[in-house]
C-alpha cells in the first residue's frame, strides 16, 4: 500500500499537478501535526471555493469588472500557491492576463479550464489522503514517539 501511495504521489508531481511547495508542506508535517498536509489542503479547498464562487458571480455580471476579477484571481492564485497546485496556478495566471487585456472571452474560457483542473486536483488529493490514512499515519516520518 505504501508503494501504491508513493506511486500516486509521484504521478501527481510528474503530471504537473503539484509542485515543490507540496513537498514543503510534507516536510512541515511532524508528530505535532501528523495530518498537516491534509489539513492544509482541506483548508485550501474550503477557502478557495469561496473565491471561485465570487469569481463566478462576478462573471455573471456584464460588463465584466476586470479589476475585480483580477483581484479575486490574485487572491485565488496566492491561495493555490500555498499547496503547490501547479496547474491551477497556471490557469490563474492566464486568467489574470486576460483580465489585464480586458479579454472577457479569454477570461471565461480560462475560468472553465481552471475549475476543471481545480476539481481534478481535489479528486486526486482526496484519493491520495485516503490511501495515506489507510497506509498508516505519517508515512514521511516513522519515528517512534
Amino acid at each position: 500500500m505504501r508503494r501504491q501511495l508513493q506511486t500516486m504521489r509521484k504521478s501527481l508531481f510528474d503530471q504537473g499537478y503539484l509542485d515543490e511547495q507540496f513537498v514543503q508542506l510534507e516536510e512541515l508535517q511532524d508528530d505535532a501535526n501528523p495530518n498537516f498536509v491534509e489539513e492544509v489542503v482541506t483548508l485550501y479547498y474550503r477557502d478557495s471555493g469561496r473565491i471561485i464562487l465570487n469569481i463566478e458571480q462576478a462573471l455573471e455580471r456584464k460588463p465584466f469588472d476586470f479589476n475585480k476579477l483580477d483581484a479575486y484571481m490574485h487572491q485565488f492564485k496566492g491561495s493555490s500557491s500555498s499547496i503547490g497546485a501547479k496547474k491551477v496556478k497556471a490557469e490563474s495566471t492566464l486568467f489574470r492576463e486576460y483580465c489585464r487585456s480586458r479579454n472577457g472571452e479569454g477570461c471565461m474560457r480560462t475560468f472553465q479550464q481552471l475549475k476543471k483542473e481545480y476539481a481534478t486536483l481535489r479528486r486526486k488529493l482526496e484519493a491520495y489522503f485516503q490511501l495515506a490514512r489507510q497506509a498508516g499515519p505519517v508515512e514521511t516520518a516513522c519515528r517512534p514517539k
Binding site: L28, E39, Y44, D47, S79, S82
Partner: protein, 571 residues
Amino acid sequence: MVLLESGFSSPRNDAFPAGLRVLVVDDDPTWLKILEKMLKKCSYEVTTCGLARDALNLLRERKDGYDIVISDVNMPDMDGFKLLEHVGLEMDLPVIMMSVDGETSRVMKGVQHGACDYLLKPIRMKELRNIWQHVFRRKIHEVRDIESLEGIESIQMTRSGCDLFDDGHFLGGDDTTSGRKRKDADNKHEDRDLSDPSSTKKARVIWTVDLHQKFVKAVNQIGFDKVGPKKILDLMNIPWLTRENVASHLQKYRLYLSRLQKESDIKNSFIGMKHSDPPNNSTASFGLHKPMNTMPDDVPNGTYSFPVNNSLAQSVDHKGQGDRNGIASVPMAEPKGALSKDIPESHKTKSSQMSFDHSLGSAASGVSFASFSSTTPARYSWTEVPEIQSIEYEPMQPENGFNQLPLPEPSMIEKEVNRSRTEVKPLFDEYRSNLVEHSSPADLVDLFPVQSKNQTLKNQVFDPISATKSSIKTKDISQNCLADSEFAQRNLNAAGIGVTLASLPEDLQIFWLQGDGYPMNIALQNFDFPEYNDPALIDETPFYLYDTPRLDHEHLFDPTEYYAIDQGLFA
C-alpha cells in the same frame, strides 16, 4: 536550531533567535496555517492574524510584545503597505511583506514603505529562518541612537556640574575654540556617528550636557513644532557647531523623546492645555505658518509633507472653507512613507491638523496651531514641556472645542491641495520612486507658493505635520484627511519633500538617510500624545486613515465637530 548550532551568539541571550516573537498577518487562512507551522519549526513564537486591523490592535495592546511582523500585501480590510507604515511608525518594528506578486514595482513600493524584506509566495521555510536578522539589525541601530541620547539625558539628570564628564570636553568656552572633532571616550556620544551615518563626514560633535542643555533650551524657546536646526543653531550661538550637527542631534532628540513618551504618561499636560485664547486670524495663521517654516530641517523623515502646511498656513488667513484642508495636511505625511516608513502617519496627522485649522477660519487656524504645538512640546517631558505647551496654545482658539484636532478648514487647504493635486500627483509618484533622488523639487516648490524660503518650507512641512498628527485627537479627522486626501497628501508630501530637498539638499538628504523612521516615531508620539488619555482614538485613527477609502470617513467623524472636514475632504 541551526542558527544556534552554528555558533551564532546574540548579545542578548543565547537562545536568540529562538523565541523570536513573530506576528503574521494574512487574510489567506491556508497561508496563515502554513506560515505558522514554518515559523514554529524555526523555534519562533508565532501569533497569527487574519485581519490587518486585528494585527494593529494586537500590536498596540502589547507594544513590546512582538519582535517582527510579517504581512501579506493584499488584504481586504487594509492595504498591506498601510499596515506596514503604521507598524513602522507606531511600533518601529521590522516588517516583512509577502505576496504572490513579485512585480518589481510592488517590491519597490514595499521597500519604499519601509519593508525590510519582501518575500514571494510560495514561501520556503529557509526564507523564514533568517528573518531574525532584521530584528537584530534594528536593535543594534536603536541601541546606538538611544544610548547617545540617554547619555545626554542621564548626564543631565544627575547633573552635578562636572562630575559626569571631564571638564575638558564639557562644552564651555574651550570647546568653541577647539576644532569640532572631539573624541570623547568618557561619554557615550561616541556612538553618535553610528546613528548619523550621513553626517559622519562632518566632524563629530560631542553633545555634552551643557551643549545639550543649550540645545534643549533653544528648542523650547523656538517651540518644538517650529524648531529647525537653523533656528536652534542661531539660538545656541555656538560658533563651531554646524547646522548638520544640530539637525542630526535634533533627530535623535525626537527619537529619544518619543521613546520617553512611550514610557511616561504626559497626557495630563496636554489635557491641561486649553484653547481658550482665541487668536485672531492673523495670529493663528501666523502661528501655523511659522512652525511650518522651521520644521523641515528637523524632521527628515516625514516632514516633506509640510510644504502642504505652508499652503495651509497661508490659506488660513484667507479663511476659506475649503474641503481639502485635511487633504493638504495629509499629503504631507505621505511622502515620508517612501523615505521612512514610520513617518507617514505622523505627517498625515499634522497635515490634517494644519488643514483643519485653516478650514475653521482664522479661529480654526489658531486651534490647529495650538493643538499641534501643544502636542509636540508635550513630548519633551523632561524639557519643560509645559512651558512649550502653553506657548503653543496661545494662538489656539477653542472655538471648535477640539483641543485635539483643529477643526478642519478644508476649503483652504483643499484649494491648495486641489490646485496642486494634479500637479503633485505625478510628482508624488515620481517622488515615491525617487525618494532618495529628490525628484523635481522645483516643481514641488511651485506648488506651494507660500513658502518664502526653502528653509521655512522645510520646517513647516515637517513640524506641522507631526504636530498635526499628535494633536489630531479625533481619528476621524485624520482619517478623513488621509483617506480623502491621500492623493493630495502624497502629492503634497512629494511636493514638500521636493521643496525641502531643493532647499536643503544636504541636510535633508542626511536626514532622510538617517530617517530610519525615527522621526516618524517621534511624530507618532506626537500624535499619541494628545490622545494619551485616549489611546483608542489614536489607534483608530490610523486604521481609518488607511481603511476607509475616502468615503467612509463619514461615520468616523463626529459630524458636529468635523463638519468642515466632511465637506472639505470628501467633497
